[in-house]
């Protein structure tokens, strides 16, 4: 595939189920070799979007092309060029691992001269060498997940859609799975992956934050962190914490204050000026400050910040 051609192009895509708008005018594009993350809470519209891109659901409005083919008009051409892993494990549990692989090799018309080589490769990748004749039902979560990935890439598709591929899988298996995703991306495959794990989102080259069917932010993880915060972030470890939070919420120069673990995160306009001011403000109120320093925001900070801003916006709009 041409590395300079966009692999997925989405323009104003909408999906309505009756009165409910699951996906609301989203637009995005991906490039070969890119890991594109779709981050959002359950019910935000991630799976619905992926299903439309795989030609499994017909869009209500808007347009999407995958590998250059329109998903509504040429779904079969799209399917030949993609691998798809659905959110729920959907291989055949009553088939052996190798039988599942053979089935999908057949369904994707993998040429017979390379079938055994590809299956061998998929087995190695999934770490299933030696267990190929185990019934799929007896495999543990991580193996099942990697087997499903193996089945989805037997035909070497240029684009891979993974819908929450690591949900319900232990941390080590998750790590292994992401290594595989990175390896495929380095070979030029576009990996379109949904997740609600913030730490996984950090592995993506670019991210779209989706909330209530809308993309609320789009960019590289670093860009998102820089762009989306209204100011700079401070970490405060104080004793006692409750009165500290209460005091800081109304303190001058503090834009936002929230509990994060056993500390507070403050959003301020400028860190340099705010640090001495906050320290003074707290000591005046007999609150002991153990730590006070600027930190880099995590995606979780961004996500909380963006979605609360969105909800506030919704509230303002809905007020008469």
């Amino acid at each position: 595939m041409n590395r300079n051609a966009r692999s997925v192009v989405v323009e104003g895509l909408v999906k309505r189920f009756g009165d409910f708008t699951a996906v609301d005018h989203i637009s995005l594009e991906t490039w070969p070799g890119e890991i594109f993350g779709f981050l959002g809470p359950n019910g935000a519209g991630k799976s619905t979007t992926i299903r439309m891109l795989c030609g499994l659901l017909r869009p209500t409005a808007g347009r999407a092309t995958v590998a250059g083919f329109d998903v509504a008009r040429r779904p079969e051409a799209v399917r030949q060029n993609i691998g798809y892993m659905s959110q729920k494990f959907s291989l055949y549990n009553d088939l052996r691992a190798i039988e599942n692989l053979r089935l999908f090799a057949g369904l994707y018309s993998v040429p017979s001269e390379v079938v055994s080589e590809r299956i061998q490769w998929a087995l190695e990748m999934a770490g299933l060498t030696g267990r190929e004749s185990a019934l799929t039902a007896t495999l543990s979560g991580g193996w099942k997940q990697r087997l499903a990935l193996g089945c989805a890439v037997l035909h070497r598709p240029p684009i891979l859609f993974l819908d929450e591929p690591t949900s319900g899988v232990d941390p080590i298996s998750r790590r292994q799975f992401w290594d595989l995703i990175h390896q495929m991306a380095s070979e030029g495959v576009t990996v379109f992956v949904t997740t609600h794990y913030m730490d996984e989102a950090e592995y993506c080259n670019r991210l779209a934050l989706i909330y209530r069917g809308r993309i609320v932010a789009l960019g590289t993880p670093t860009e998102l962190k820089q762009r989306s915060m209204k100011g700079e972030l401070l970490l405060v470890e104080a004793e006692p914490l409750g009165p500290a939070l209460e005091a800081l919420q109304t303190a001058p120069g503090v834009l936002d204050a929230a509990v994060f673990g056993n500390a507070l995160h403050l959003v301020v306009a400028g860190a340099a000026a705010a640090i001495p001011a906050v320290r003074r403000y707290l000591s005046e109120r007999n609150i002991n400050v153990a730590r006070l320093e600027p930190i880099r925001p995590t995606l979780e900070d961004i996500f909380v910040s963006l979605t609360t801003r969105h909800e506030d916006g919704d509230k303002e709009q809905s007020q008469p």
């Binding site: 299903r51 659905s86 009553d94 088939l95 369904l107 994707y108």
Partner: protein
């Protein structure tokens, strides 16, 4: 259409059938069990009817008449009573189904050339059986009566006189008048209906229920390939069961088979297309195994049982029901099988039954092909 993909689906389906004990039982044991159950359990023949007699005369001639009943395989004289209430009691208690009363002046009236009435009491709780008992009784008494008349004429000096008309009945195609001979074809219809519709009704529904459908439709496989790949194995199983039923029927129950095996298989194949298509269609529409299997049984098993002419003769059904049987594919298949087994009819003589089956096959095949869409809803 890609053979690669079709074969992949078919192979997968075969593996799944092989690993599913329920399917295997239905495929292998059910036909044999149905055959044995119906072959032994359902007999529509009337033989050895238990009979009680109250002979008020006890003469040589009355004994002659009773001997004729005794000699017939249709009657067994199980008890002799010496009063009328005892006879009534025997019928009431179910000891016998037929009670015969011979009047006290039986031989005297015969000797004078008069008419004698022999009373027959029949247990008519089952009207069909009662009708048969009546006609068999009439036949035995009629034969006796004709002999008496000849005897009487001879004694009047008119020797050589013959009864002007006799019926010489000759039964064709099922000479022994055994119901087994048409129960076997009937069971085959039921087996085909269950294999064809019941098993296949689960195939698509199962994939929706287990979530495997989502992965399947994300591949380039076409609806036609899915259908043919899934139904192919069941088609082979259906033909295997045809052979199994025929073997049990012919080998064990000694049902005559006068037709050609190829005729049997061509017609079975046609009927299978109808039931497979129907089962698949139901499966696609319901997307739920329980609903699909219920619907498949109602749509195939029940009509095959009640309306195909297997257990109940179509000619004796009320007109509206008889009209309904015209849209029951099993009806044509039952009639076809009877002709193949008992008459030995070759294919060209069976067009009356073949063309409706072909029409059904076309309709069901089309419905099945068009129904499956590769989209989630």
């Amino acid at each position: 259409m890609s053979w690669h993909r079709l074969a992949a689906i078919a192979r997968k389906e075969v593996i799944q059938i092989r690993r599913d004990r329920r399917s295997l039982i239905i495929v292998v044991l059910m036909p044999v069990m149905l055959m044995l159950l119906f072959g032994y359990g359902v007999s529509l023949d009337l033989k050895h009817t238990p009979t009680c007699v109250f002979d008020r005369e006890g003469s040589q001639q009355s004994q002659d008449l009773l001997k004729r009943f005794q000699a017939s395989e249709y009657f067994d004289v199980v008890a002799r009573m010496d009063n009328y209430p005892a006879l009534v009691e025997a019928i009431d208690s179910g000891q016998c189904k037929l009670g015969l009363v011979i009047p006290h002046d039986f031989s005297r009236r015969l000797a004078t050339g008069g008419t004698v009435g022999v009373q027959a009491l029949v247990d008519a709780t089952d009207d069909n059986t009662a009708n048969l008992i009546f006609s068999y009784t009439e036949a035995v008494i009629g034969a006796f009566s004709a002999d008496v008349r000849l005897d009487w004429l001879r004694r009047l000096g008119r020797g050589g006189m013959q009864v002007p008309l006799t019926v010489e009945a000759r039964v064709w195609f099922n000479e022994e008048l055994e119901s087994k001979a048409f129960i076997v074809p009937g069971v085959m219809v039921i087996v085909m209906a269950v294999i064809g519709a019941f098993l296949t009704s689960l195939t698509i529904a199962r994939e929706w229920e287990r979530g495997t459908m989502e992965q399947l439709v994300s591949t380039p496989v076409t609806p036609l390939e899915v259908m043919l790949g899934k139904l192919g194995p069941y088609f082979v199983i259906g033909l295997f069961d045809t052979a199994l039923c025929a073997a049990v029927g012919i080998g064990w129950f000694q049902v005559p088979f006068r037709g050609h095996l190829s005729t049997l298989f061509v017609s079975s194949a046609l009927f299978l297309v109808v039931t497979l298509g129907l089962g698949y269609f139901i499966s696609v529409i319901t997307k739920n195994q329980l609903a699909a299997s219920q619907a498949a049984l109602v749509a195939t098993f029940l009509p095959a049982f009640m309306l195909s002419g297997f257990l109940f003769a179509i000619e004796q059904m009320p007109a509206p029901i008889r009209a309904i049987t015209h849209v029951v594919p099993a009806r044509y298949f039952v009639s076809l099988l009877k002709d193949v087994f008992l008459k030995g009819s070759p294919l060209p003589e069976l067009t009356d039954q073949l063309w409706p089956l072909a029409v059904f096959a076309l309709i069901m095949g089309t419905l099945a092909t068009l129904s499956f869409k590769k989209r989630l809803t």
